[in-house]
């Protein structure tokens, strides 16, 4: 059942059913998702490549994914500009960051 060659993309699913297909490298920036997708862990998420994030809604998850790509893009960069965070999403994103360990 487990694919021998893990896919380059994984699916992140918000609690209201939106599916985001993101690069595995980007998703693994977040510590919690990295542990979910760890092939050695034999979690369902690791086998199917689909992560249900039941605490995040679509709007927050979209912003989180924006950050994951931002982090991936600027991994080796110097003088990284700060990503814009809307003030009204700030607390929710804080909780999401706490949950995702990112």
């Amino acid at each position: 059942m487990a694919p021998s060659e893990p896919s380059h993309y994984v699916t992140l699913i918000s609690n209201d059913g939106f599916e985001f297909i993101v690069q595995r490298d980007a998703a693994c920036v977040a510590g919690t998702i990295r542990k979910m997708l760890d092939p050695q862990s034999r979690f369902v998420e690791a086998m199917t490549g689909r992560c249900h994030l039941s605490t995040l809604n679509a709007a927050i998850l979209e912003k989180v994914i924006e950050y994951l790509y931002y982090n991936l893009k600027h991994r080796d960069a110097k003088d990284v500009p700060d990503m814009e965070i809307p003030a009204d999403m700030c607390l929710e994103l804080l909780l999401a960051a706490d949950y995702l360990d990112v």
């Binding site: 989180v64 950050y67 931002y70 982090n71 600027h74 991994r75 080796d76 960069a77 110097k78 003088d79 990284v80 700060d82 990503m83 965070i85 809307p86 003030a87 700030c90 607390l91 994103l93 804080l94 909780l95 999401a96 960051a97 706490d98 995702l100 360990d101 990112v102």
Partner: protein, 609 residues
């Protein structure tokens, strides 16, 4: 008793014996006394009123039989007299009208939930403006409201599950966020046992500050008042104080005051945030408190000449203090001892030797005391670095990673002689990108609702987030805004306070503002030379432990009898990302420009022998 505005001619027949000037009379006094009703007689013959103040019958000059006041109309032309009087009376009321809490039966907000056993009462104490919004056996919610502050104090007595319930109740009282200065005793801190007493102390302090403004003095003596915190609003009048009492004619005197603030023997656990903003502070004494940390914002106090932080719980000092010490070179008095400072262990060698290997050798066994020796300049003693801890890499919450070098601020006693060498992060994982948590906190820092945001967190064990938000709040409060900032350039020793603008905390390497540190290390600097040579006055530590009567005397004596340890203080430095680590020895890092041409020799001492 003549009113100045009334048209009085000097009476021609005033006798000198009279103490009171007689009022002018049209008629001879005997005749005037005989006539009873002047109005009745002259009503026919007087002129019709020309002015509004003349529109009553006996107002003409002929009827000037007794002193009269000019009529004053305190009303608009369209109001009648009663309305005008009513309005004046309301506006003259001394106390501002307070919002009245009333139960709104329609909204359902105040409906008691099923599990609430107690009752809600809405009583208030007029004298102290403390309102008990909610009193239940599980805890209380008190609201203290002044003209400028509003404090919500929640005390939970039974179990943490009631906390959210009470918190939600408290939050409802804060219905206008603009007025809310922030919870000064939030629920996660230790509560003052007696809010009323604490408030009274604050009012006394505010009164003292107010008196100071009037007297034109600049010394505030608040020693031994049992203060645990000082509200920002209390100290804020000090910003507008001016030095006007030694003005002389034909001379130029600076209006900048020389503020002296004495706060020793109180119960402070942190430096009140507003102090970091008092730019004209010359003397600050915080002796004999329980302060455990001084924020880097102290670099904003560029006029500080005397600082006394002895007898506190400080284990390290901010690196930014060094800039103050250096530039206050001759007239500065920095009293930093005694404090339970971290000490390099094993102790620093007296004589620097030749370099054996660079700082923080990755091979682990030979780690980690590096000493840089600078010569003493002729002008006095130049501070120089003695030793450095290994760099601690911290996770997104600012906690040190397991099996890595511990953060110096976390450990109670820092010894370098650990049996297993700590791991270091490989350079390819060191990214400059801030974490999402950090970005959120930076955004929250600029939000006007930061003070409330800990209340807004949902239930559950999220107290670490609340603590982070609390720290963000402190950093924001202490963040200095310097008008003469020249961007991010400039070294500390040359241009004092050349920091960008009010971020409060700056990366030691890249100079960006941050909230959560990701790297941390402590440098020990010798900031005073042998007694007599030093410009900075130190009470020298007793050389033997037997004479020690200080709080930090115990447990630190083994490496302590070395005379060279006198005048060595640990200065903490923090970086904003894992990439922000100091370069190898000899390089100039931001925030510190190495002193004039010196021979730099790094020393690595073999440890664990």
């Amino acid at each position: 008793m003549a009113t100045p505005s009334s048209p009085i001619q000097e009476p021609p027949f005033t006798s000198f014996e009279e103490t009171e000037p007689r009022l002018p009379m049209i008629f001879p006094s005997a005749q005037a006394a005989a006539i009873e009703d002047l109005d009745a007689i002259f009503a026919i013959s007087s002129d019709p009123p020309l002015f509004s103040s003349d529109d009553f019958p006996a107002s003409s000059a002929e009827h000037y039989a007794q002193p009269r006041r000019k009529r004053q109309h305190r009303r608009t032309w369209f109001e009648d007299e009663e309305q005008g009087l009513k309005r004046t009376r309301v506006s003259q009321g001394s106390k501002p009208r307070r919002r009245k809490f009333s139960r709104n039966f329609d909204s359902g907000i105040w409906l008691g939930s099923d599990e609430s056993i107690g009752t809600e009462i809405s009583g208030k104490d007029e004298a102290d403006d403390i309102e008990r919004v909610c009193a239940m056996p599980e805890g209380t919610v008190d609201v203290l409201e002044n003209e400028d502050t509003k404090v919500v104090v929640i005390s939970v007595k039974k179990g943490p599950e009631w906390e959210s319930h009470l918190r939600a109740k408290a939050l409802r009282t804060i219905d206008d966020p603009e007025d809310f200065n922030g919870p000064i005793w939030p629920y996660w801190q230790t509560q003052p046992t007696d809010l009323r007493h604490a408030n009274r102390v604050q009012q006394t302090v505010a009164q003292k500050v107010g008196n100071l403004m009037f007297n034109g003095q600049d010394t505030i003596d608040l020693n031994g008042h049992g203060l645990a915190e000082l509200r920002s609003a209390t100290l804020r009048p000090l910003h507008s104080i001016m030095n006007t009492h030694n003005l002389r004619p034909n001379s130029y005197v600076s209006f900048a005051p020389r503020l002296k603030l004495y706060l020793s023997s109180n119960n402070f656990t942190f430096v009140p945030d507003e102090i970091y903003r008092l730019q004209f502070l010359h003397v600050l004494s915080l002796r004999s408190n329980s302060i455990s940390e001084i924020l880097p914002s102290i670099s904003a106090l560029t006029n500080l000449e005397e600082l006394n932080v002895g007898c506190n719980s400080l284990r390290y000092l901010p690196f930014e203090l060094l800039a103050l010490i250096k530039s206050a070179r001759d007239q500065g008095r920095f009293n930093l001892f005694p404090n339970p400072f971290m000490r390099p262990h094993p102790p620093v060698p007296k004589k620097p030797c030749r370099a054996v290997s660079p700082l923080l050798g990755a091979n682990g066994r030979r780690l980690a005391l590096a000493a840089v020796h600078h010569r003493c300049t002729s002008r006095g003693f130049t501070p120089y670095r003695v030793a450095t801890t290994p760099i601690a890499f911290l996770d997104i919450y600012g906690i040190s990673l397991p099996h890595h070098a511990p953060a110096p601020s976390e450990c109670t006693s820092y010894t370098l002689s650990t049996a297993t060498p700590p791991l270091t992060l490989s350079p390819d994982t060191r990214t400059e990108t801030p974490s999402l948590l950090e970005l959120c906190l930076l955004t929250a820092k600029h939000s006007p609702n930061l003070a409330q945001s800990p209340f807004l967190l949902p239930d559950g064990p999220k107290s670490h987030l609340a603590r982070l938000l609390q720290r963000t709040w402190h950093i924001k409060q202490a963040g200095c805004k310097l008008a003469s900032s020249d961007g991010s350039g400039g070294g500390l020793p040359t241009a004092r306070g050349s920091y960008a603008s009010g971020e409060g905390q700056y990366c030691a390497i890249c100079g960006k503002g941050f909230v959560i540190p990701r790297t941390e290390w402590v440098e020990w600097w010798r900031i005073s030379g042998p007694a007599g040579k030093s410009a900075i006055l130190f009470p020298h530590l007793p050389r033997r432990a037997s004479v020690s009567d200080d709080e930090d005397g115990e447990g630190k004596d083994e490496g302590h009898d070395d005379v060279e340890d006198d005048g060595v203080v640990p200065l903490i430095r923090r970086g904003c990302s894992w990439a922000c680590v100091p370069e190898m020895e000899g390089k100039v890092v931001r925030g510190w420009v190495a002193p004039t041409t010196t021979t730099m020799t790094s020393v690595v001492k073999e440890v664990g022998e």
